[in-house]
């Protein structure tokens, strides 16, 4: 069964304290792994798409990496404005199958 598990559920960091969020997945034929950021009362905001093991993408203090079983979102020297829920989703299947499997998210709080 296709599945996405994110850990930890919640993470509290001090400003400047680097850490990583995990997204473990099982899917038939990975077509893309997505990271989103969601602020309270807002819709998810797209961050990255990763397609194959070994791929890495960066944006400001965020860096996403991908292996055959999991993805990490590394946060370097976080700031309070990085506080949000981070969602992971995977897309599998053949053809134009739009099936996205979502994780439950990691709620990140960065204290000043």
């Amino acid at each position: 069964e296709d599945q996405v598990t994110q850990s930890p559920e919640a993470l509290r960091l001090q400003e400047g304290e680097s850490s990583s969020l995990n997204c473990s997945y099982t899917v038939s034929g990975l077509r893309g792994l997505f990271w989103y950021r969601q602020d309270p009362g807002k819709g998810p905001e797209f961050l990255f798409t990763l397609y194959s093991a070994g791929e890495e993408k960066e944006k400001e203090r965020l860096k996403a990496t991908l292996t055959k079983k999991e993805s990490f979102l590394h946060i370097t020297a976080p700031k309070p404005e990085d506080s949000a829920t981070y969602l992971c989703a995977v897309q599998g299947g053949a053809g134009n199958n739009r099936k996205l499997i979502w994780g439950l998210g990691t709620s990140l709080a960065v204290n000043p």
Partner: protein, 114 residues
């Protein structure tokens, strides 16, 4: 923002009444989606559209219908609202149905069914 407007932003309705949520996009994207987000369940796909008048069911479509008469508008209707449909509803769009095409979301409609 990706040019997606959802209306209303908040709605309270009574059990058994019909409710229509609207999603309007200015990006001219072909694909549009309705999701619901509930604690402990994450995002779940209700219906999606791959063109004008072309729609298909998602994983939690029972009790919901959709319509898309114009590229820019995608309507979600709860025919007879139930308390289990209390949720936050998100509209999303994507440029393509190909693998890896990201979704862009609106800011949601918080629906409470009393």
């Amino acid at each position: 923002d990706a040019g997606i407007t959802q209306s209303p932003r908040h709605k309270v309705t009574e059990t058994g009444t019909p409710v229509t949520l609207r999603c309007h996009q200015t990006e001219n994207h072909r694909y549009m989606y309705w999701y619901r987000q509930d604690p402990g369940h994450g995002l779940r796909l209700i219906h999606y559209s791959y063109g004008v008048k072309d729609t298909d069911k998602g994983e939690v479509s029972d009790g919901y219908s959709v319509s898309r008469s114009k590229t820019e508008d995608f309507l979600l209707t709860l025919e007879s609202a139930t308390s289990s449909q209390t949720s936050v509803y998100f509209c999303a769009i994507s440029e393509s149905g190909a693998g890896g095409s990201p979704l862009h979301f609106g800011n949601g409609t918080r629906l409470t069914v009393t």
